[in-house]
């Protein structure tokens, strides 16, 4: 059986989640591989959430928020615009292809764009292959904090 | 009145060949209204685009070869249509059917065989460097590669420009060398003619050669080479720091590494080359340089900076016959004279050639000279 990527999508409530809904109400078909978590703002997109998704077995993580300048919370997306490049640099060192994490800006009216982003990202992850995180094969961590 | 049926497959083919913005055009006609052909024999680029949008016969008209890729329409287009890319892609489609104008075929053949469009021999390339004692580029000893353009190697008038450039760079203590064997045409015009595969072959060979020699920084004399190296080569893996001689001179002046002390008694006006100005936004450095030459009086023409009139030599037109009365450069000489200039300066070997021709054809040898900016700078060295 061919590899079906499992992707966690974290979308902001006002633009990207609404945009994803619009793709739905417009009956646009796209790859079913992205499972979505809704947060209020892309500013909430803590790198820890990305690591959590990888830890739980995600092959890729898609983050999407309002376009720069259009943030529902004025500037939350700017904080994530700054965080993700640094997180990607760290991911490289952690042996995870930075392409497995994608940050996109999708507005509430861009259902078609959401469709395109998802399809493209799924194909990209498909070509990268499964992440198969080693931590998932190591013994569990006893409480250490 | 003709009857037509849209042939959308053709339109799609043009988009696929690189004319990606074709469908964005909303037919405002800014392009046709801005085109320099309007001064001589209007070229209806707007209509060609609309024909192409519907895949209708006529988009492949002879007129297509008139485009000099001067960029006036492209920079003004309110929809951001890459009109030059569009022209390229249509030319490419025509090229596949072999319907390229004869003179262009000869130039392309020369690029294919000799690595230059002038039917010059390969051994002649960069031979000018010998008498000037310009060394072969060596990354340990020379900072810059001086890329003289095919013009410097195969055109007598252009050789004076490279000589001036060598004097100026030496005076400022810049270390530079020329490529020994194997260098070829930048192929900028080849690409604009629509010969994408030849362009990729020639550019690829240059990139490989430059990389092998450890070239990082290139000084160019022609805005066409500049544009190719800067905007086209990176996509093929050739990422070099490219400076046009005008940029280099301007920065040398700013850093006080170059002193212009000998007065140049002349009333000068400046012709912005399309590929330096509109294509690459270098409008200020030439004017800054002119302001630093002592004794020189400067006057702008009406069509200056973004409004500059194309000399007619771009987009492959260098190798095509332009009927008398249709040469843009013939319009430029009187315009320069009208502002009282006795020197028409520019900074492109194509422009120098075209304008020089017009000066002779119009019998204005006494009234005005055509000079490259680098030559004026060299004159001002003590």
């Amino acid at each position: 059986m061919s590899f079906e990527p499992r992707i966690v999508g974290i979308l902001c409530n006002w633009c990207s989640y609404t945009g994803a809904d619009l793709a739905g109400t417009s009956r646009m078909k796209y790859a079913p591989n992205v499972r979505v978590v809704r947060v209020m703002c892309s500013g909430r997109m803590d790198p820890t959430l990305v690591l959590k998704a990888f830890q739980e077995g995600a092959d890729g993580v898609l983050l999407a928020g309002c376009h720069i300048g259009d943030c529902h919370y004025i500037s939350g997306n700017l904080k994530t615009l700054r965080r993700i490049p640094l997180l990607k640099r760290v991911l490289v060192e952690l042996g995870i292809e930075p392409e497995r994490l994608r940050l996109e800006w999708v507005s509430a009216s861009e259902g078609a764009r959401y469709q395109g982003v998802v399809n493209e990202f799924v194909e990209q992850i498909r070509s990268l292959g499964p992440l198969d995180l080693e931590a998932r094969r190591l013994p569990a961590t006893a409480s250490a904090s | 009145m003709d009857v037509a049926t849209p042939f959308i497959e053709v339109a799609n083919a043009i988009v696929e060949a690189g004319g990606k913005d074709l469908n964005l055009c909303y037919q405002c006609a800014t392009c046709t209204g801005s085109c320099p052909w309007g001064y001589v024999e209007p070229l209806n680029i707007r209509q060609l685009i609309h024909l192409a949008q519907l895949g209708l016969e006529g988009y492949e008209s002879e007129d297509l070869w008139k485009c000099t890729t001067c960029g006036t329409c492209k920079t003004r287009c309110p929809r951001g249509v890459g009109i030059i890319d569009l022209v390229r892609s249509i030319r490419m489609m025509i090229g596949e059917t072999g319907l390229i104008p004869l003179t262009l075929r000869s130039a392309l053949g020369s690029v294919r065989g000799d690595g230059n469009p002038w039917n010059g021999s390969r051994v002649e390339r960069n031979r000018w460097a010998g008498p000037l004692q310009v060394p072969i580029f060596d990354k340990a000893r020379t900072e810059y590669l001086l890329y003289g353009c095919c013009m410097a190697s195969y055109d007598v008038r252009s050789r004076k420009i490279v000589e001036a450039a060598v004097r100026v760079l030496r005076a400022a203590g810049v270390t530079f060398g020329v490529m020994g064997q194997g260098e070829e045409c930048c192929a900028e015009s080849v690409r604009k003619i629509g010969e994408e595969s030849l362009f990729e072959r020639v550019a690829g060979s240059n990139i490989e050669l430059f990389k092998a020699q450890g070239v990082e920084k290139i000084i160019v004399l022609s805005p066409h080479c500049y544009d190719a190296f800067k905007n086209d080569y990176p996509a093929l893996g050739g990422k070099f720091q490219v400076v046009h001689i005008v940029e280099k001179i301007a920065s040398l002046l700013l850093l006080d590494k170059l002193r212009l002390e000998r007065p140049v008694k002349a009333k000068v006006t400046y012709h912005d080359p399309c590929y330096l100005g509109r294509h690459n936004n270098l409008f200020d450095p030439p004017r800054m340089i002119l302001s630093k030459i002592p004794g020189l009086e400067f006057e702008e023409m009406y069509r200056a900076r973004e409004l500059s009139l194309c000399c007619g030599g771009g987009g492959g037109r260098m190798w095509m016959e332009t009927k008398f009365g249709q040469r843009f450069s013939d319009l430029r000489i009187p315009e320069a004279l009208a502002v009282g200039a006795n020197v028409l300066a520019t900074s492109c070997p194509y422009c120098v050639n075209m304008l020089q021709d017009s000066r002779l054809n119009l019998n204005k040898e006494e009234a005005i000279e055509v000079k490259d900016l680098t030559e004026l700078v060299a004159e001002s060295l003590v």
């Binding site: 690591l51 490049p85 640099r89 490289v92 995870i96 013994p139 904090s145 | -």
Partner: protein
């Protein structure tokens, strides 16, 4: 009183020995310790052999401290043995707690480390290409070496640990206090971090801080930081804000930024990710290009944010993939 004394052990796994020195560093308080405790095993300081431990009945040791991460088969064997022999087992120091400096090996693997150490490093002089082997026959018999693991683990990832005493090394005052508490039978809940605060370094740090904004990142050794002002405000990455306090701000007091040895705060899942997030959000740039430009001034972000805690972090190590896939 003699028979009421605590039987205490101290062992080092993948450790530099600094923790053992720290234990000695409690100075005259060692007398208090000796008053309440008998040292039954401390190979760093006294002559004990493994068979001494093997001979002990299970749960013989009242409190056993183990420093160091678990990096090879010997470490693993010993800590499992000591777990069996101990009533209370306390991870001692950063390496046992969160992996520590040896944990940085998780950015690599066994093979690449061997390659560097025995072949490739500029100071390696090994013309015959000699490498250690785990079993080697000599006239006297067979010599063995422990097997080096690909992945460094914390103590808690290897055995059941009762308490964690963080620090590289732990603050001597905190050591004494912790021993006192355990000796007094007032032990906290199992699994607790002891000898450290629930709040970050900034709680204690005396430096002034007004507003965070990174226009570029600076390296400590290339600057002369103002000792009165927060390092971060001076563009120097300090991970104190994501690190438990309790160390007595020894680094900060010596004008060195905090490197994070006391480990993550109680509700933090990944110390490196949280610090990364806090710092990146304050980068003074609003376009991807500008952000990248500023990030270019930060060398080795992964090593900076996971200097001590990589094995205890969410992803625990660099991924290699089953087919040796490597990220760029």
């Amino acid at each position: 009183m003699a028979n009421a004394k605590l039987k205490v052990g101290m062992y080092w796994a993948a450790s530099c020995g600094g923790c053992d020195v720290a234990l000695l560093d409690i100075h005259e308080k060692i007398l208090d310790v000796v008053a309440v405790a008998d040292l039954v095993f401390w190979p760093c300081a006294m002559d004990f052999k493994v068979h001494h431990v093997e001979a002990m009945p299970d749960k013989h040791i009242d409190v056993c401290f183990i420093s160091g991460a678990v990096r090879n088969s010997e470490n693993e064997h010993m800590v499992k043995l000591l777990r069996r022999k101990s009533k209370v087992l306390c991870a001692f120091g950063s390496c046992a707690h969160i992996g520590g400096i040896p944990g940085l090996a998780n950015f690599w693997d066994r093979q690449s480390i061997f390659q560097t150490v025995y072949h490739a490093s500029p100071s390696t002089e090994n013309p015959k290409g000699t490498v250690p082997v785990e079993r080697f026959k000599v006239a006297e018999g067979e010599l063995t070496l422990p097997h080096l693991y690909d992945t460094v683990k914390t103590l808690g990832q290897t055995i059941d640990v009762d308490y964690f005493l963080p620090g590289c090394p732990p603050n001597p005052d905190q050591i004494a206090a912790v021993i006192g508490v355990i000796a007094a039978g007032k032990a906290p809940a199992k699994g607790s971090v002891v000898g450290a605060s629930e709040r970050a370094m900034c709680e204690e740090c005396p430096r002034k801080k007004t507003e965070l904004k990174f226009k570029s990142f600076k390296r400590r050794h290339l600057t002369h930081p103002d000792p009165e002002v927060c390092f971060m405000e001076q563009g120097i990455v300090c991970v104190g804000a994501a690190t438990r306090s309790g160390c007595g701000w020894r680094c900060i007091g010596s004008n060195m930024p905090c490197r994070g040895c006391y480990g993550p705060l109680p509700s933090v899942h990944d110390q490196g990710a949280k610090m990364l997030s806090a710092i990146a959000a304050c980068i003074d740039a609003d376009t991807p290009d500008d952000v990248e430009r500023i990030l270019d001034t930060m060398p080795d972000p992964a090593g900076t944010f996971y200097r001590f805690g990589l094995p205890a972090s969410m992803l625990r190590r660099r991924q290699r993939g089953q087919d040796g896939r490597e990220a760029r």
